[in-house]
Symmetry: C2
Subunit: 150 residues, 2 copies
């Protein structure tokens, strides 16, 4: 019993880590044709909801550091999905704007969420069971986020 808690099978974090990796993998067939990685797709979701945001707002919504988001945006600028312009009131800010290509991609991406749901449901049944995790995950995230600011 001494080391029981060190067993892999008792680790929640390992499951989160694995579930996240594999789920991201399941997006591959849908994102590859669009030339997007999963984190880039998340940035697109943020920008489709609201265009013209500073780097910091995007990072904040994704709970990522700006030093993760900056190079990500640089790559996305290179592939022509976004533009990055100097902020007007605050010239330290870089405002991220969708290009025509970026805006149009929304239509192509429209069905990705339902495709993913369908695939997951097909493979292990209950969508409801998965949806039931959402409030718990949100609480977990909320708690860990506060821990960060200490």
């Amino acid at each position: 019993m001494k080391y029981e808690q060190l067993k892999l099978e008792n680790q929640v974090c390992f499951r989160l880590y694995t579930a996240a990796r594999l789920t991201m993998g399941a997006y591959h067939p849908y994102l590859d044709p669009l030339g997007l990685t999963y984190p880039q797709y998340l940035v697109m979701l943020v920008l489709w909801e609201q265009d013209k945001q500073p780097v910091n707002d995007i990072a904040h919504k994704l709970l990522l550091e700006t030093n993760t988001v900056t190079p990500l945006l640089q790559r996305m600028e290179k592939t022509g999905l976004i533009k990055r312009t100097q902020g007007k009131e605050d010239s330290r800010q870089r405002i991220v704007t969708l290009t025509k290509k970026g805006i149009e991609m929304r239509e192509q991406a429209k069905h990705i969420p339902e495709c993913l749901s369908a695939e997951i449901i097909k493979n292990e049944g209950s969508a409801e069971e998965i949806m039931q995790m959402i409030p718990t995950l949100d609480k977990l995230i909320q708690g860990l986020k506060q821990q960060l600011n200490k």
Copy 2:
């Protein structure tokens, strides 16, 4: 409503991805003193359960590719936690063995799981609620794993 499903707040995968990242972050204060990263800690868990395993078995248990695990093990060999030796029956295999330092670290790591639990519970209450996700996560992982082999 046309693009409702593309909203970030409706994404389960984003929550898994974030929860996994933040939880891994919560391990930092405990793993840093041991000189371990979280994936390296996972390898240690596997080896503490059973020493002397080929690379492939470790990768399989962690659901990682060998091309992820190999460099990870190379770094761990450099820090003196493990040794990698040629397999005897099958000389293609590399057998991973804990060093004295690696074995002794188990005692220092013994309390990490309960520390993490305590921290998470302190921050957002219910441990039970989190434990309830385990069967669902396992089903999700199982389903996605099978999808991989197609």
